[in-house]
């Protein structure tokens, strides 16, 4: 083979920063400094409101100014020049440093909250970084901050302001504009302000449960655990608690499958979800780092569906134990058999759904739906044995142990550290692609029973590879496009970036009749004589 040239020395001119970029970087650096200082030394800066303001201002205005400096004066269009020459976006030193800082942040957040000064002071007062957030927390919910409040605030700032950056980068693209506005709204209002304000109004006086109305089961794997159900039906939490309970059930049972049928899983993954929102905004510069190989696709299918099945299993186990214990609140109103029938009914429904998808679905992979149905059946049968044997555990394992394991491996390590911490190394959608049970659930619907697909434009593809490279879900879009085949993939989150980066206008996200959606033997047009062609 010929020599491989290193294309990375892009002439030093492109590295020159303009004033706006320098300003943005400075603001960001000041914030980073305050964060690191308070985090690593535990120093409590006063007055905290001032430092909080500087911190948040730097993290919000910094990236926006930098983006304006970068894209200002350029005509609207694709802005990927130098992506592979940049140390931050090409797994260079900056990328590694970023990943390490983010990972340490998550480690401290999950296991070493003390490092942020979470309740470490006298009488449980906050110190260090968390102390900076006290004024905001007091203002929003009338209580001092904690590490989760700090995290929620950073998270929201990241989505909102890097969302602005994203919109500016893709300006004139109305699909990106609208979905980014929605995801910013969803994070800021539904996931951040609303829950904290409700909390401040004592909505969770009778026990804590998630007040984010778009945090759907099975992503919110806690939704149906005993103490969360109890919290929702606690008298002090009414009428909101029951409303959230009912909404939550409607959300996963009706809204999710139905909307996914109509428009694909994108409505959630790149319009409403917080994880997806962060990936699209803060993670935008890392989307090309996803692995496109067939091997990665295989791992993805096994992993994401195993986790999904696991969450379902866990939920069933937890609920089963719940029904067997009369001390739980709900069980004061219902005889246990109502609960059990509900559980058997739900599992039965899942089995039917799998069978339905098996018979309705197209392509070889629908066989997996049969596997799903069998898993469901096995669960029903083993639960039946437990029930008849009067055991309080559904599958002969302690449901709490399963839950702890899930919380550690999936909740913390996967969704936090690998999912976000490794943005600069593995791309921005690792969690969404390999881990998220909600994505698994919707992916199955999207693959087998949905109106959504990405249509390819006749014979126009030049196999350039931009679409595959910039697909954050690691889908080899080109492999379909160059054959004239529609892209119907469980993983596609409908971000629409493949469409944007395609230089030949080949791809279009569409909802339409299911007929002809999966076209395994497509016709590439432009060529009358070819035997596989029309006429």
């Amino acid at each position: 083979m010929g020599t491989t040239i290193n294309y990375s020395i892009a002439g030093d001119k492109t590295q020159n920063l303009n004033l706006m970029q320098k300003l943005g970087l400075t603001l960001g650096a000041i914030s980073l400094f305050i964060l690191l200082l308070t985090w690593l030394t535990g120093l409590t800066l006063t007055p905290n409101w001032l430092y909080l303001f500087i911190l948040l201002f730097g993290f919000s205005a910094g990236p926006v100014l930098y983006a304006i400096g970068t894209y200002k004066g350029l005509p609207a269009g694709i802005k990927n020049n130098g992506v592979y020459f940049n140390s931050l976006t090409n797994r260079g030193a900056l990328g590694w440093i970023g990943a390490i800082i983010l990972t340490l942040f998550y480690v401290c957040l999950y296991w070493y909250g003390d490092w942020f000064g979470d309740g470490t002071g006298a009488k449980g007062a906050n110190e260090g970084t968390v102390a900076l957030f006290d004024p905001l927390s007091q203002f929003m919910r009338g209580a001092p901050a904690d590490k989760w409040f700090l995290y929620g605030t950073f998270y929201t700032v990241a989505i909102v302001f890097l969302g602005v950056k994203f919109m500016y980068k893709y300006r004139k693209n109305r699909y990106h504009f609208i979905r980014t506005v929605v995801v910013m709204f969803s994070q800021l209002v539904l996931a951040y302000i609303l829950p904290y304000v409700l909390e401040g109004l004592n909505a969770t006086a009778g026990g804590y449960y998630s007040l984010n109305p778009v945090n759907a089961w099975p992503l919110n794997s806690d939704f149906l655990t005993g103490y969360r159900i109890d919290a929702r039906i606690a008298p002090e939490n009414q009428p909101l608690g029951v409303a959230y309970m009912v909404w939550g059930i409607i959300l996963f049972l009706i809204v999710t499958p139905f909307v996914t049928y109509l428009v694909g899983k994108r409505w959630y993954c790149s319009w409403f979800c917080g994880c997806g929102g962060l990936a699209e905004t803060a993670g935008d510069n890392f989307r090309h780092l996803s692995d496109k190989s067939i091997k990665a696709w295989k791992i993805e299918r096994w992993l994401v569906h195993s986790i999904m099945v696991f969450v379902m299993l866990m939920t069933v186990a937890v609920m089963y134990s719940y029904f067997s214990k009369s001390e739980f609140k709900l069980m004061m109103y219902f005889p246990a058999w109502v609960g059990y029938s509900l559980l058997f009914g739900l599992l039965g429904l899942a089995v039917l759904l799998f069978l339905f998808l098996y018979f309705k679905g197209k392509g070889k992979s629908r066989n997996f739906m049969l596997v799903g149905a069998v898993i469901g059946m096995v669960m029903i049968i083993s639960m039946l044995f437990s029930y008849l044997g009067n055991s309080s555990q559904a599958f002969g394992i302690n449901s709490n142990t399963i839950k702890k394991g899930y919380g550690f491996f999936v909740g913390a390590i996967f969704s936090g550290i690998v999912g976000v911490g490794f943005y600069p190394l593995l791309g921005n959608r690792v969690w969404c692609r390999f881990g998220c049970p909600m994505a698994g659930y919707m992916g199955i619907i999207q693959r087998f029973k949905s109106r959504f697909r990405i249509t390819t434009n006749g014979g126009q593809c030049i196999s350039c590879g931009n679409c595959s490279t910039y697909c954050e879900q690691g889908i080899d879009v080109r492999a379909y496009a160059q054959k004239g085949q529609n892209i119907v993939r469980a993983a596609c989150v409908g971000c629409g970036v493949c469409t944007s980066v395609c230089p030949r206008g080949v791809l279009k996200l569409e909802n339409g009749p299911e007929e002809g959606r999966v076209n395994d033997n497509p016709i590439i047009i432009g060529h009358e004589g070819h035997p596989t062609l029309r006429r």
Binding site: A10, Q460, C464, G465, N466, E510
Partner: protein, 446 residues
């Protein structure tokens, strides 16, 4: 087992190999001296601009070839002996073929300019050219491009992405004037002018390249006597078939390798496809040599059928193509000639602010739709193919324009204005139909 050997691993050769494999068990070998694995030539620019790495522009993973039993040889074929059906290569022992497919592509034109071989002067066609361009443009600040076509504009975009100022010498009065009507080419020019660092010089030609002491280009002189300092000269004045190594053989060639309608040559069991083929009798309204990606692909599909026993003639359907001029996307369906044919007339609609131009061509009398150029607005290939086949009228096309729109969801629509403007200009009463599912429209007869 029969041995099919393909020289050239571009889109034409690789498509042929894939389709032969789909339909047969023949032994298949692809030889190329450029790279072991197939890559997308059209995407070379993106590697230079840092959008992708070189491995990203390879459409198949490396294990694909083994899995599909397609042998790859990275070597140069020096000579073909058509009598004994053997290929002589530079480093590999001679190879015998039963059937030979020549898919050797093109090479950049060099018109014997004075100084064309100095350092810093090059074309852009191969991976080697890309590597050379990387070296030639490091740390420089000014470049000159010769030839206002598609590769030229890509080179301009590449250079500008590295903050190198570009002066573009264009022989014609307008940009890509031999392919685009004046209105369209002015529109493209207008877009190009929005990019800082790019200077377009129309009706200018290269006269001489002037080197410094180390034989590196230092400036150029144009035919009108202008001196332009530069450290790089890009030659983008078209390409021609890459067949020099065959010229001395008994294979019949002209500009390219002469082929019959079924892509066979004057030698038994030897075919030629892609950029290097030249049709003895041009098909329909097409040129004898067609140097585009799609035709290479379609010829590959065709020759594969013949090789596996379903003898097939090359029958391309309606012309289509696409390109991107910096941020301005261009698609075309059917024929929009630079100079309209007799009896053809145009309807042009444009919106300068949004950078959209649609150029419809139709028959003055029968109103039959002939073709469209579209800039800044994506249109659906399938529907235009159908309309061209069924000789739809311009009114019909305009009526269903909403359905033919291929823009992403929520994008601005212009159909109403377009139809209104058409009605006004031609005193017509076309009523715009609401958007339908396009699949439904495909089934309707025109």
């Amino acid at each position: 087992m029969e041995h099919v050997v393909i020289i050239g691993n571009g889109i034409a050769g690789v498509t042929a190999a894939r389709h032969i494999r789909k339909k047969s068990d023949k032994r298949i070998t692809i030889i190329s001296s450029e790279s072991k694995y197939f890559f997308s030539r059209t995407a070379l620019m993106y590697v230079y601009m840092g959008h992708m790495r070189f491995e990203d522009i390879q459409p198949y993973e490396n294990h694909f070839w083994k899995k599909n039993r397609i042998d790859l040889i990275e070597d140069y074929v020096d000579e073909v002996d058509f009598q004994s059906k053997t290929l002589k290569l530079l480093q590999t022992p001679p190879i015998h073929y039963d059937q030979l497919i020549l898919a050797t592509g093109s090479k950049p034109n060099k018109f014997g300019w004075k100084g064309q071989d100095f350092h810093g002067v090059q074309g852009l066609y191969s991976k080697k050219d890309l590597d050379l361009m990387e070296q030639n443009t490091r740390g420089i600040s000014e470049a000159v491009l010769v030839g206002g076509g598609l590769i030229g504009v890509e080179m301009a975009e590449m250079l500008l992405s590295r903050n190198i100022n570009v002066t573009f010498l264009i022989r014609e009065k307008t940009f890509w004037g031999n392919a685009l009507p004046e209105s369209d080419s002015n529109f493209v020019t207008q877009h190009l002018n929005r990019h800082h660092g790019l200077t377009l010089l129309f009706e200018e030609e290269l006269d001489e390249i002037i080197p410094d002491n180390s034989k590196r280009v230092k400036e150029i002189k144009t035919k009108s006597g202008k001196i332009i300092p530069c450290q790089f000269v890009g030659l983008a004045a078209g390409v021609s078939p890459n067949i020099d190594f065959l010229k001395k053989s008994e294979l019949e060639t002209d500009k390219g390798i002469l082929v019959n309608p079924d892509l066979s040559t004057n030698q038994k069991d030897v075919y030629a496809i892609g950029d290097c083929a030249q049709f003895r009798t041009p098909i329909n309204d097409r040129g004898p040599v067609e140097q585009v990606w799609y035709t290479g692909r379609m010829m590959g599909e065709t020759v594969a059928q013949t090789i596996v026993g379903n003898k097939l003639n090359y029958q391309p359907s309606h012309w289509f193509n696409s390109a991107k001029f910096f941020d301005l996307e261009y698609q075309t369906y059917g024929r929009v000639w630079a100079k309209p044919k007799d009896n053809e007339t145009s309807f042009i609609w444009k919106n300068d602010k949004e950078e959209v131009l649609l150029h419809f061509v139709f028959d003055k009398d029968s109103k039959e739709f002939k073709g469209i150029n579209t800039f800044g607005l994506r249109l659906r290939h399938e529907l235009f193919e159908k309309w061209l086949n069924e000789k739809a009228t311009i009114q019909h096309v305009l009526k269903y324009l909403k359905t033919a729109n291929f823009e992403p969801e929520f994008f601005k629509h212009f159909e109403k204005e377009i139809v209104e403007s058409f009605n006004q200009e031609f005193d017509e009463k076309v009523e715009l139909a609401p958007k339908k599912w396009w699949g439904k429209l495909m089934k309707d007869k025109v």
